[in-house]
Symmetry: C2
Subunit: 571 residues, 2 copies
């Protein structure tokens, strides 16, 4: 039945972007007919909360499906509060853009109908990639498509049926579930095909610290390993994961090898699909059809640093897009300016955040970068309770613009990521970042904020005041048998506790370096080492001042040196 | 003796800016002679840490005087590591800019000498204002000028000689010491001359929450009260504070009525002093004399939002300025772009941050503003451990630019302040702030970040979608006997727990508002109320959609309503 006087807005997908678009559209247009079509049994739930429900941190799955004031966000709620019709367990089968209608089937009754629309919103989300391996149908193999599956997984854990888990895929979901398994004392192995965890999210060097942190918490991390198939026992329950390097016993398997946008409906309707494989939209979130909008995990977005289209599904982005769509389907003209690739997560005691471009992403674009590796406490060193964070800051060598950052550690990662994300968005330089007037008080920050310190490292490099070398490069050069001096300028007390055992190491505390300058070997390249890098930089400046030409400081110092030694290191 | 071949840089002041300038100058110039003159007995200490030492949070005062790696930052350290001469207990008596020399007197020997300079740095800091009242010399009356005084105060507390303290002045230092006294179970009264705490730092409405939070922690807060004198007992120890409203028993008094820049030396040398009363410097931190630079708590800075010069002494600013000065006294050309007025503190369980302009500051400049009051949890509501924060965001009504923000509450205030400070610095609008790609994961944030939510409230107001009214205005209008309806749209369960007891209140849960629209009184102004403001906004939209014209939502809802009732409210 065609809409008569009232405009009809049909929204396909009821998790994040869809309900937000519906709510916003209603606030702007009191009279439109608004219909949400949702294939699953729930709407408007916090899918990002599922790992914390599995962990037991969120006690009830219902908690993910209520408002902040405790009201269930179900069809009745949307009807009563928003005057939005919700049809759950209804699947959109086809869109006819010419006739402006959607064919819908009820998954319960099998009944089909055509629903005409004035404006259509596609918010079909994404689905886990199902790898083409045998055994995916075994019991206790999970993909976490829907809240029901998370409930099943937690029931397995609480019923004592999940003691030994394998997570296939070392990406964000894999690591969040590893955290949940850790909280539930489930023995966990992560198998990752790539040579690093969080591939495409953080650089390889940063991922080493993550792998070390997981190993320190007794999570087995197996990289460069390909899962061939899953095998089950006689009861049809998974019992083994077979890889190209052996087999691992497991009573529970989570497969999290990525997600793909749900584009089938859009594609079949002839809508333009972007090179990323997600639905193409303009900055108003309109698809290639004028009356069809799309948002959330099924679309690609503009990256505000590069201008490229990227696929970066995230609940926060979906919400922002829902608001823009709600405006634009009710006569507004709102713009979604894009993203800068910010994401954050926690896993087993460390927080991991990133924004902008990684060093690797910048290199692949041919951008020349300058990088700082800056470890340090997240508040004044004299204030108790401070925790470490490591900032990797990446700037453009020519323009001095901030390109991106990765921040990790047990400390307050999120604040630094958010500040850098803000500066990135405005095209700010390392100088801008260093000169921000950020909060300072001893319980919260250091007088020179960590992000300013990282910026200053880059400024010193750009201005020729310092040259750094990364611990990983020093290790490689030691392995290659190269000749140079490592000058350890820490105190004897520190040296007693830990150090580098190598004949290249020469030890002079920074406080004695000026008076013992004659003991410093001349004519050789000198790499200065301390605990976190600041004294090494100072030592390198002293040596330069004394006429030593070939001097570098080891970035991040011994803190990062140890963490690049995979088996026992801990950030 | 005149410097011969080596350039000589003399720095007056050894706490924050001075040592930083010295260290930076040394890194850039290995050969210059660098001398720091410090009147006190210590250098390079964390003065901002003193309240935490008094609290016992920082166990040893020495902790404030060491590097992060535990080395004492004394004269020997500066000599050995930085090749910087430090003269402690030496006072600069006069500067002769023509002859480029400083007259110095040793406070121990009384010996005077003239020290010539090529470049001079004035980093003389600030001193507590000493009010012109009697009794300031009594025992256990503290001003916290120097670390020694903090040590004395803590000794009094630990020796059982401080049971009843009065803090004269409800500014930042006063509240930080109130926090310290709270940690040490010292009974505390704060007396403030102004009609609010943190006058000039946060707006009056926000200060009410702070006062309530302090009162909830048993701190007596007395506003609009003038201290006339301090009285002592026969032993010469303070025993009473006499005010224009009575007398308060006290065995310990902290006087913290503000700080003033130490400009006497600069003024006597004919250097230009700004209208703020602090030393005037240009954006290179050069004074009106070409070879004299100044930084830290004795100078005024440019405010990057208004362009005005302001006096805003802070340790973090002093450090940034020290770096710029270190560059510029060694042939560099670095710019200090100014500040945006960011500050943060904690007191008795609440964190208080601010950046940019307050609503009041903007109004005094004749700027028309739009304001959001947005309370909410600092992470996803379903994730345990979230704590509330209240954001007051102020934007320019014409340009939509963010002017400033105040954030307070037990939750993560600092991150939000820093993000807003970053956006302010780049001249960003509420739209820019709302569309930032900030970190999201349930343990850290909500899918719609608190700062985006506050921005959206302002956008809705600017775009005519909503009209808000503050709880304080509603209270005033009730007191004035005005006629209107307060429509409480919370659930019956919530209403049972708390509410407003007034005949104007009409109660219809949001979920029933559409179906019971006929019960809503027509022809009267309707003010919609809920717990935090979001449902009230939604309710107001529903009423507008149903043809009600005169509808406003009560901003911040019952959360802020209760907190505006001073005696028992708690944020």
């Amino acid at each position: 039945m065609a809409p008569k006087n009232r405009k009809r807005i049909v929204i396909i997908g009821g998790v994040a972007c869809g309900p937000k678009a519906a709510a916003r559209a209603r606030r702007r247009d009191p009279s439109a007919e608004i219909v949400i079509i949702e294939r699953g049994g729930n709407i408007s739930y916090a899918a990002c909360g599922l790992p914390y429900y599995i962990a037991g941190t969120v006690p009830e799955i219902g908690g993910l499906m209520t408002t902040a004031y405790g009201a269930a966000q179900d069809a009745a709620f949307f009807d009563a509060v928003k005057n939005v019709q919700v049809r759950i367990r209804a699947e959109a089968k086809a869109i006819d853009p010419k006739r402006k209608s959607v064919r819908i089937v009820s998954l319960d009754s099998g009944k089909e109908e055509n629903l005409e629309y004035d404006k259509l919103v596609i918010a079909t989300g994404a689905s886990p990639v199902v790898p083409p391996i045998g055994g995916m149908n075994l019991k206790q193999v999970f993909l976490l498509r829907m809240p029901e599956e998370a409930a099943d997984l937690r029931a397995c854990i609480e019923g004592g049926r999940a003691d030994k888990a394998v997570i296939v895929g070392g990406g964000r979901i894999g690591l969040e579930v590893a955290d949940a398994f850790g909280a539930q004392a489930v023995e966990t192995t992560i198998i990752e095909l790539a040579d690093q965890l969080l591939a495409g999210v953080i650089d390889r060097d940063m991922s080493d610290y993550v792998a070390n942190a997981l190993r320190a918490e007794k999570v087995a991390v197996r990289l460069n390993e390909k899962v061939l198939r899953l095998e089950g026992d006689e009861s049809g329950k998974v019992s083994k994961v077979i890889t190209d390097q052996g087999e691992i016993e497991a009573d529970t398997v989570l497969v999290a090898v990525g997600v793909k946008p749900n584009i089938e409906l859009a594609k079949a309707a002839g809508l333009m699909i972007g090179a990323t494989g997600a639905i193409a939209v303009n900055d108003r979130l309109r698809t290639s059809e004028p009356d069809i909008y799309a948002g959330g995990d099924c679309v690609e977005c503009a990256h505000r640093v590069t201008g490229d289209k990227v696929y970066a599904p995230l609940g926060s982005t979906a919400n922002r897009q829902g608001r823009v769509i709600g405006d634009n389907v009710t006569g507004g003209d709102s713009v979604f300016p894009g993203i800068v690739g910010t994401s954050v997560m926690k896993t087993l005691g460390i927080n991991i955040g990133r924004t902008g471009l990684t060093e690797d992403e910048a290199a692949r674009r041919g951008i020349k970068t300058v990088v700082a590796l800056s470890p340090g406490p997240d508040r004044s060193h004299f204030f108790p309770g401070g925790k470490n964070i490591l900032i990797k800051l990446v700037a453009d060598k020519e323009s001095r613009k901030i390109l991106g950052a990765q921040v990790l550690g047990p400390g307050d990662v999120v604040r630094r990521v958010d500040v850098i994300a803000s500066v990135l968005t405005f095209g700010g330089t390392v100088d801008d970042l260093a000169e921000l007037d950020l909060s300072y008080a001893p319980p919260f920050a250091t007088a020179i904020e960590n992000v300013a310190h990282a910026s200053n490292i880059i400024r010193n490099k750009l201005d020729g005041l310092s040259e750094g070398i990364r611990p990983s490069s020093v290790r490689e050069r030691i392995a290659a048998g190269e000749d140079f001096v490592i000058l350890d300028v820490r105190t004897p007390h520190e040296i007693q506790k830990a150090g580098i055992d190598d004949p290249r190491v020469c030890r002079i505390p920074l406080s004695e370096l000026r008076s013992r300058i004659n003991e410093t070997p001349r004519g050789k390249e000198i790499l200065v080492l301390c605990q976190v890098g600041a004294r090494a930089y100072e030592g390198a400046r002293i040596l330069r001042g004394e006429g030593f030409d070939d001097v570098k400081f080891i970035e991040g110092g011994l803190n990062l040196w140890n963490s690049t030694k995979p088996p026992e290191g801990k950030f």
